[in-house]
Subunit: 413 residues, 2 copies
Amino acid sequence: MERIAAYYLIETPYPVEDAAAVLAGEQSSGTFVAVPGETAELKTRFAARVEQIELLEEVSEPALPGDTPANTTFKRARVKVSWPLDNVGYNIPALISTIQGNLYELRQFTGLKLDDIELPATFTDRFRGPAFGLEGTMQLAGVTAGRPMIGTIIKPSVGLTPEYTAQLVKTLAEAGIDFVKDDELMTSTANSPFAARVEKIMRVINNFADRTGKRVMYAFNITGDLETMEANYDTVVKAGGTCAMVSINSVGWSGVKRLCDRGALSIHGHRNGWGMLNRHPLLGINFPAYNKIWRLAGVDQMHVNGIKNKFWESDDSVVRSIRSCHTPFIGNESVLPVVSSGQWGGQAFETYKRTKTTDLLYMAGGGIIAHPLGPEGGVRALRQAWESAVAGLTLEEAAAKHLEFGRSVEKFG
Amino acid sequence: MERIAAYYLIETPYPVEDAAAVLAGEQSSGTFVAVPGETAELKTRFAARVEQIELLEEVSEPALPGDTPANTTFKRARVKVSWPLDNVGYNIPALISTIQGNLYELRQFTGLKLDDIELPATFTDRFRGPAFGLEGTMQLAGVTAGRPMIGTIIKPSVGLTPEYTAQLVKTLAEAGIDFVKDDELMTSTANSPFAARVEKIMRVINNFADRTGKRVMYAFNITGDLETMEANYDTVVKAGGTCAMVSINSVGWSGVKRLCDRGALSIHGHRNGWGMLNRHPLLGINFPAYNKIWRLAGVDQMHVNGIKNKFWESDDSVVRSIRSCHTPFIGNESVLPVVSSGQWGGQAFETYKRTKTTDLLYMAGGGIIAHPLGPEGGVRALRQAWESAVAGLTLEEAAAKHLEFGRSVEKFG
């Protein structure tokens, strides 16, 4: 019988084996008392199993509220638990409830974080995964290997008119940008209704493509209820767009899956709200598990934060997330990591040093739009930063060599 | 201009006003540098505003990783922030991204929890809310005021056949149960395909209704991708069912909304995964905000845990959640609080004492199915417990007066 496996980082005042057994019981055939019908045969067929336990450190204070027996330490461990595929089949929301459900409620744990998951190879037959993924999305944006896609975010996040936004897109296109996106706060506002924004922006993008052969990818934020998202999706397709952005946590798995299934647009997965799922070191979910769940829905592009970002997330976590996006999964090609948050090009050196890849969508908002030489200077500076990083130059050498990047270092460095 | 407001519990090493201003900026018109286009007029129209700050305690250690300047304390506060309705309109996933998005990532906070939200009265015109809600669901189950709906969960959670489950439902119906539900781990398993389970169980329920006039409500777990949920929903409606259960966190807001919009079944909202959103005292979301978001989708029944539950959640939090379900919202009637987790009737006394209400779905799993006198005894014991609690008896008096409840106290007390 094929099995599904999940890895957890846990903390418990009890013996680790006992706590892990409670988790396995709660998430399969157990309840708080023995009940009729819980036969040995049923347990053999449907019970979850603790597969391995790797002991980590012990601490004197619990990470989260829970049971605190007197005179104990809190043991940390990484444990692997498995379930028969039969329990949930290929139903992903049911899988989520199994590996990520009531177990966070168990008082036997003072810390519990889902770290990674492993699925049987048969999932490949049932899930297409991303329709475009990393390679397909880069092709769609006309970016060939050897450099990252360079992108920016329309700022201010909310309040600009379609006309102003379209004018900004024109400037950015002429500056050589590959990708532009709505902010996640911008869907359809009183002074920038969605359809009007698409029309104005796509006119600019289509004209530029006709003139130059380069079709800038614009991620229109279609986030909403299903009726809104489906209508917005159609609007983008009809206007010749290539991409739609969705706030995946706000919409949820089943809604995102339905959009991805349509397959006409590369789906830009914005993970806003991620902090509430990940910020505590021993609560929630780590990116490798999170990423796989969304790749099963078919998301093509996934946010991963950036090196030296403006948020709290550590560089190590960002590097692990980029690797996770590049790791093949259920037979699909990889998903495109979207590097963003306080990026302006200076981080290209450390990013390349630590990941040795340019298979990225590298996004700068203020770093491009507020560049001292204008957005053209901002785009040039980013390209210069990446060329220099790949060529092995230091930040200082690149700043001395390139005018625009030099000005970036003066302003943002 | 109408505004949307959110209340947060925060912790920060910086002056509270400064940190709150960062939050308001990040979640409306700001980025990490000033950008062209961010005019005074735009800010006036679209900027978020810090409305009030209530200072709480100061602590010496941060609750979460974030900025930790030297020689500082960490200030806690409850702050109110508001946004113009124009920023998101009536788009709830966009609203979620605004009030519950990237703000959890801000390093200026070492704690941030969304506590409650307030919406303008115009939301009433756009959202029906629950199709059945508290009153409608109780009516559908044939329960008249003065006592809670009594419910149980099929246990073991997974592994039983449709035949065995249907037989158990028959026993429970004859014992006087009002409500039975699938476990959240049970959707469609190899030995209990969804359609077969519905057919077998509804035959029992329909026969019992024909014979007695009482239609037991069964919450079939339809959780899945949209195709699966829509097919399962139809299966339940066609078979004469009155209720469907959805794991709301696993499916997500947009998928749940589409189901609720259909309006033929009372939707039982299971919040498994809640612990990851709520367990840390200064990260995630509190129930009053969470509950409102799901009432906007149209969920009719909402899990709230129970007094002295088997999980970690405090009684105070449970009581607050029950009150939150009973508080009218956007003009709708209230949502039915589902009290469960380690309940067996003994908690009825404290539950009634603290909430003074019987407008509940009171669920016991093992507490009914593992009762020493069988499920009939278990159902009777629960009814006795609630009658006694409402009549002002103590647990001991009730145990002395009623055989079945007395046996519950012996086994579970």
